[in-house]
């Protein structure tokens, strides 16, 4: 059930009648009223640094990366808390990272590490939902992912899809929620780490030249017109939107080239690492450079209930090399200030090593990294307590985290969007931009 569509005859109820009557005398309409409210909200949340980021690269480490074995080693704690790994010095005075982040330690002066991320969701799906949408899961409403909100608010650039997932649909919460399906991500369906990587169907099939494709498009529009005039639905609008985007991509050489990782110099590809972490991050850089607004990539499975030393040792070094290379590469190209790189995960892991030499789920405090896009360089935000069990200072909530990211890409987190049921929803509910994070 929805409100009547805007073109339907308006039958004011008594209350509306009254309001409009009163406003009419001072020369305002209902929509003016709403606009005024929107402006007030804008003034409140969008500060001078808003919109510094032109794109976001989200590196999602699914399963729950341990904070102790990454950005928040518990150096002085007893061994059962400290865990099996040593720590290394970083470019920031007095700040140490876990030993498997040696390369990242060298670029620590370019990034912000948050050691006080916190929420209460200890189940993978609920934690992931929180970190992807900025909302706790609700039984009554499906929230859009941050990428879909960016697609909705900012739209496309350079004929490229605004929101791209590498290599596949990352999580069910990377979806469009209550927003129309047209704001869904483009999932590559192929891993750039594979030698035979290519994004399917970007080029015209053999035997079909541009001339013939143009004719096909024209004929299709004839065939499609009858039905378009008759039926309306979100899915139909979605399909139309994706056809328009597909046409644009197919006919733009530059757009298609954004997906061609082989065009990167071999030495640079080596520096990122010829593996899933390296090539996915490199492609992400290539995509944002070409105009994609929000790239979300996944790497590894970090649900290390058992033998965390071995599991971390298998995954982290490749991440470390790739991430450091990405930050350097962006910085050298002058893109770091306009690209917000978010390393996140659904939660951290228990303070104490468990009976199988691993750690279990722990959402009370964990670490994420934010770099570029107007974030401070060489800064550690917040802290966890001595055992990594609770935030000790400056806890960062999911809402504030989301509000800050939206703010940096130029979206007012207080803005309300409308669900299909006519229910207004804030992009982030009660989130505050965390000024301390900003340069």
């Amino acid at each position: 059930m929805q409100q009547p569509p805007p073109h339907a005859p308006w039958h004011p109820n008594r209350r509306e009648f009254l309001y409009v009557g009163l406003l009419g005398t001072v020369g305002m309409t209902m929509s003016d009223l709403f606009r005024t409210e929107a402006r007030a909200a804008t003034a409140r949340q969008l500060g001078a640094s808003a919109g510094k980021a032109k794109s976001v690269i989200n590196i999602y480490l699914p399963g729950g990366m341990s904070h102790q074995e990454s950005f928040d080693p518990k150096v002085g704690s007893p061994i059962e808390y400290r865990g099996p790994l040593e720590a290394v010095k970083t470019k920031i005075d007095g700040v140490q990272f876990s030993e498997n982040l040696k390369e990242t330690a060298k670029i620590a002066d370019k990034i912000t590490v948050v050691r006080s991320m916190t929420h209460g969701e200890a189940a993978h799906e609920r934690g992931t939902h929180s970190m992807f949408t900025g909302y706790r899961p609700s039984p009554a409403i499906a929230y859009p992912s941050m990428g879909s909100v960016v697609a909705h608010e900012l739209g496309e650039r350079n004929h490229l899809p605004p929101y791209v997932l590498i290599p596949n649909q990352t999580t069910p919460y990377a979806g469009t929620g209550y927003l129309g399906s047209a704001f869904g991500a483009f999932a590559l369906g192929s891993d750039p780490a594979n030698d035979n990587f290519s994004v399917r169907d970007l080029t015209l099939p053999g035997g079909i030249d541009e001339q013939r494709f143009a004719e096909r498009r024209e004929m299709r529009s004839v065939v499609d017109a009858h039905f378009s005039a008759l039926e309306k639905s979100d899915a139909l609008d979605g399909m139309d939107a994706f056809y328009q985007r597909a046409y644009a991509m197919i006919s733009s050489k530059e757009a298609r080239a954004a997906f061609d990782i082989k065009a990167e110099p071999a030495a640079l590809r080596d520096s990122y690492g010829r593996n899933q972490a390296g090539q996915r991050m490199l492609l992400a850089r290539r995509l944002v450079e070409a105009g994609v607004r929000f790239v979300s990539l996944t790497y590894g499975g970090w649900d290390h209930h058992d033998n965390i030393k071995a599991a971390n040792g298998r995954l982290m070094p490749n991440f470390d090399k790739a991430y450091a290379a990405l930050i350097r590469d962006l910085d050298e190209r002058g893109l770091l200030d306009s690209t917000l790189v978010v390393v996140n995960t659904e939660f951290g892991r228990t303070p104490k090593i468990n009976g199988t030499a691993g750690r279990d789920h722990w959402p009370k405090v964990f670490s994420i990294a934010l770099a570029g896009g107007g974030m401070k360089r060489g800064y550690v935000h917040g802290s966890s307590d001595a055992t990594g069990g609770e935030p000790d200072s400056d806890p960062l909530s999911v809402e504030d985290y989301a509000a800050t990211i939206f703010h940096q890409i130029g979206i007012d987190p207080d803005k309300t969007l409308m669900t299909p049921g006519g229910r207004p929803q804030a992009i982030v509910k009660d989130g505050h931009v965390v000024k301390d994070l900003l340069a």
Binding site: N13, R14, A185, P205, M219, F227, L230, I250, G422, R423
Partner: protein, 807 residues
Amino acid sequence: MLRGFFVFSFALPLFAAAPALKDVKVFPADVNLRTRHDRQSIVVQATYADGVTRDVTAQASYALGQKSLAKFEKFTLTPIADGQTELRVKFSGRTLVVPVKVEQSQVEPPISFLNDVMPVFTKAGCNTGGCHGASRGKDGFHLSLFGYDPDGDHHRITRELIGRRINLALPEESLLLEKSVNRVPHTGGERMKPGDELYRTLLSWLQAGAPKDPPAVARVVRLEVQPAQSVLEGTDEAQQLSARAFYSDGSDRDVTTLTAFMSNNDAAVKVTDAGRAIAGLRGEAFITARFEDQAAGVQVLSIPKNLPFTWPAVAETNYIDTAVHAKLRQLRLAPSAVSDDATFLRRVHLDITGTLPAADDVRTFLADRSPTKRAAVIDELLGRREFTNLWVMRWAELLQIRSADQQVQMSAKSALQYFEWLEERIAANVPADQMVRQLLTAAGPSFENPAANFYKVERDTLKLTENAAQAFMGVRLQCAQCHNHPFDRWTMNDYYGFAAFFGQIGRKPGEDPRETIITNSASGGVKHPVGGKDMAPKFLGGPKPEIAKGTDRRQVLADWLVAPENPWFARNLANLVWAHFFGKGIVDPIDDIRVSNPPSNPALLDALAAKLVAYRYDFRALIRDICNSRTYQLSATANATNAGDDTNFSKSAVRRIRAEVLLDALSAVTGAAEKIRGLPQGGRAVEIADGRTSNYFLTTFGRATRETPCSCEVRMEPNLSQALHLLNGDAVNAKVTAGGLVKKRLRDGQKTPEIIEELYLRTLGRFPTATEKEKLQAFFPEGKNPETALNDLFWSLLNAKEFVFNH
């Protein structure tokens, strides 16, 4: 005051012709006052001829029979002396009589931790997941989430950090109270006010010495919320709700003020703490009420005031239309017109058989003048093999027929055997109750009795329990594994009691390593994680059956589940079938029925379920009713009233064709068969036995992987990859060429207009319109070989929304 004046002056002319009063109801219909502090509030609801309801509690007049027995004040009855009398409620010329019984009026009831104190924590929100109900509590104090562990909560309040939380010497100074009223800083702020009911309850309990209940304390067995449905006309129109709890000792209690209410659509209807539902924007909402571990819900509709609406005189083919129309009238929605023959034929082919009608089928049907031709084609399609294929696929999704990563666990061979077993049953029209019974009670070697694969697909007792509840009852129990379900009635006791039915399954390897022998081990069980008690089997939402030792518990479960009076089984199946034909369940998602996600049209679901039982679970018969209903045959085009409706079946839903059916359709209309792993050449995607089998097309268009029984596995939303694949991929371009249809027709000497017509009929199931014919002429200049252009037209038709969608 100003507003009041305006409202008054505008409102006057609007009360012209009020619809006639149809019914008046009093809630509750009988009043039982037991013990001294008992009370019962009264709510009166009037229903008018146009379906609108009004809360007329304040407008009704009341007369109490014997004033010496009870007091009636502020619409609430309180006891004075034992005896029986009646309350006469009069409204608009009608009188209703409510019997009033007063017992033990001089007895001071002892305060109960379970029945008085625990509800305070739920009502005040103390034990929610964001507060002390979080798995590790909040700020050092933990309560069980929504009160799943009263003993533990009592312990934590009274024994943990002794002396901190309660002060029995000076109860008012207990931290529990100080925090709750924010007298000392409380992260959660002020949850109650000094002296209010919640506060007084906590205080009395502390004054009584913070006692624990005796073991025999009465427990809530049921929560009733009334009125079951309200239709509020106009913003700010309100309806007071009444909540009553029934206890194991036969008593009842007015718990309206102690119940936590929640609306699932605040924009349409919001609900106050006191249980007052208030209308907002046009729409519908479900109000969920939670008291102790019980939950119940009611439906509240909000419609604009004075909406000009006349119900159109539309025919009703059967009970389906009756139920759908009744709801539409309440909402002031008119159903769309009936679809034209071509649209109907394409839709019914896709829905019943998963195939498109052949060009000649369309021609014959459109030329047929028989008034019963739609019913005839439905009957014919229900007899086709493709109907069986489609439903075998649907059941294979429910049963998760898929080989495992570890072939020993579930081999491709086992998956195929299981699939074939299913196919035999659906082809032979074995009633669904018998089929499910065979699955649940399956025993023996899985090669000989492939139904035993039900216990091979999932070996974990708890996951098996969850899957069975989701597939056969449409209930998602997962939450209740660790705490009482936050949005439903399920408690951990329900969960582990139900799991106990699956607690005695024996599995041993057969001779072939891929085979498993399923037995009734007649020993073992399931333990409750809080307290570690071995759970006796208990039906979900039902009683604890007596089971003799050694009896196969699954047999007892199957008897209960598929019994005609079981409230879940037939409704779930009926809803599943309905969703297939309408793209949306009456409960939606279909496998997530809960108090906070009830059916959009309960009468419709009840009617379908009753029919399914009457048909002895022959779902073909139910499908025949569905497809013959006017509701199913509606056009997708909206009228002036129903553009915004997507939950009440007032028009046909435009649905993308699901992955398998779309791929099969592309193969069929082009004549270029697809080679699918594990199937013979020409095998169709709907016939895939093993959920592990897929290809790029099927994955991109959202085929279910069958890793879970969840209906959400089938993904229908459009995306960019799909568009690119249809435009540039081999699914369309290569098939058009490989099938060579256009070439063949030209070779046979057919003319361009004939071929254009056939392409339209094959793909869209209709003739080209005059406009289309005229516009297409430009692409076929005189003297030019039309082959390329015809192939391009074929390609265009397959890329049209009208092809990709069922409408």
